[in-house]
Amino acid sequence: MIRELALLDVYYLVLAVRWTIALTLLALAGGSLIGLLVAAGGASHHLLPRLLALGYVGLVQGIPLLAWLFIFYFGLSIVGYDLPPLIAATVGFSVYAGAFLGEIWRGALIAIPRTQWEAGTAIGLTYIEQLRHVIIPQAVRIAIPPTVGFLVQLIKNTSLAAVIGFVELTREGQMTTAATFQPFAVYLLVAALYFSLCYPLTRYSRVLEGRRRGVR
């Protein structure tokens, strides 16, 4: 039945933002775990972990995110788990985020000059202590602006979870459109909601970037 676009619809759309944020945070958590491994492997001095990290990033970044979502949504159900869309989406987005975060963090790690490591050795720090007190504090400062930038990508891309039936902002928009038949107003509102999530982060990432340049 077609009905008018009411204030209640707007309210439900705003509420659906919760699920967009929840999915983003889940993907960020999963992606960080994978990303750490990829970064550590990619910055390693040994060939095998470097190749593995390179292969992982190349594979993930060479296939559309949409395809990853479908592969996990259908693939994991073949193995016998009948997964709710939230789990399939979390796995899919974590795999995707892991590759991009891994690349960002690997770049930050290898941007630290070798002399910093050597200085650590010279004052008698162990490998772990060098990482903990010398390398990571500097690498984090380099990595944070692009990581916040990627977070914006991640928020926007969670919209693709709509296609495997996970009800977040975009899916809620589709359902509202189906009920009210006011696609223009609804999608405009959906876009505005995404914008209000992403734009502050974009600005913040730019401020951080500027601050880092200023320090140097």
């Binding site: 594979l59 970044q61 060479g62 296939i63 559309p64 995110l65 949409l66 395809a67 990853w68 479908f70 592969i71 259908f74 693939g75 073949i78 193995v79 016998g80 914006v152 926007k156 891309n157 919209s159 693709l160 709509a162 296609v163 975009t170 928009g173 589709q174 459109t177 006011q182 696609p183 223009f184 107003a185 609804v186 999608y187 405009l188 959906v190 876009a191 995404y194 914008f195 992403c198 734009y199 974009t202």
Partner: protein, 219 residues
């Protein structure tokens, strides 16, 4: 695991796959061309335009870069007819993809322009080059060389992102996948085959861009 993989059923649909592949390549090629040309123009406005033009260009870039492509696509395909502008699937897809890529390209090319030191332009002036000559030889070409890596990876990402147009049933490679899926019920196999094809396209594009770089910028 009781599941037996059967790729044969999927591969038997090679005509549908090939048709989809061609549409994906066409979509990508047209979008990249349009996005590159208009993105460069928008970048010029962002830096050298009058204040009002700059403000418009800046808002355009920020709005597009901070909203999802699929929502932009839905707004154009489902939203515009509601206010009287009806577009067919391919036009809507090309429009949405081009509007999207133009914004990203503009931001990248602008960064490239800004990477050119002022002293280079002054050197151009003191050599007696005209304005357009300076823009072409001192600003544009070196700027494009500087941002070539980010620009080419943006284009690869765009090619992958064209898969989103399957959601408004444009007949691209990904849509071919869902058609074959409904014919054969081989979900997993279908999307594996489709993914491998996208991966091949990605590798081909990366190789092609590397080759272009060597041909264009090696002096």
């Amino acid at each position: 695991m009781a599941y037996t993989f059967r790729f044969r059923d999927v591969l038997a649909q090679q005509d549908a796959i090939l048709d989809g592949l061609i549409v994906t390549i066409e979509l990508s090629a047209v979008t990249i061309t349009v996005g590159f040309v208009f993105g460069t123009l928008v970048a010029i406005v962002l830096l050298y335009g009058r204040p009002w033009a700059r403000a418009i260009a800046r808002s355009y870039v920020e709005v597009i870069r901070n909203t999802p492509l699929i929502v932009q696509l839905f707004l154009i395909f489902f939203g515009l007819p509601a206010i009287g502008i009806k577009l067919d699937v391919m036009t809507a897809s090309l429009l949405a993809l081009s509007i999207n890529l133009t914004a990203y390209t503009a931001e990248i090319v602008r960064a490239g322009f800004e990477s050119i030191p002022k002293s280079q332009i002054e050197a151009g002036i003191s050599l007696g080059l005209t304005g357009p000559q300076i823009f072409r030889h001192v600003v544009l070409l070196p700027a494009l060389k500087n941002v070539y890596p980010s620009l080419s990876s943006q284009f690869v990402l765009l090619m992958l992102a064209t898969s989103v147009v399957s959601q408004i049933s444009a007949a691209d490679l990904f849509h071919a996948g869902s058609i074959i899926q409904s014919r054969t019920f081989r979900d997993f196999e279908v999307y594996t085959v489709i993914s491998v094809l996208y991966l091949c396209l990605t590798l081909l594009m990366r190789g092609g861009f590397r080759l272009c770089y060597m041909l264009m910028f090696r002096r």
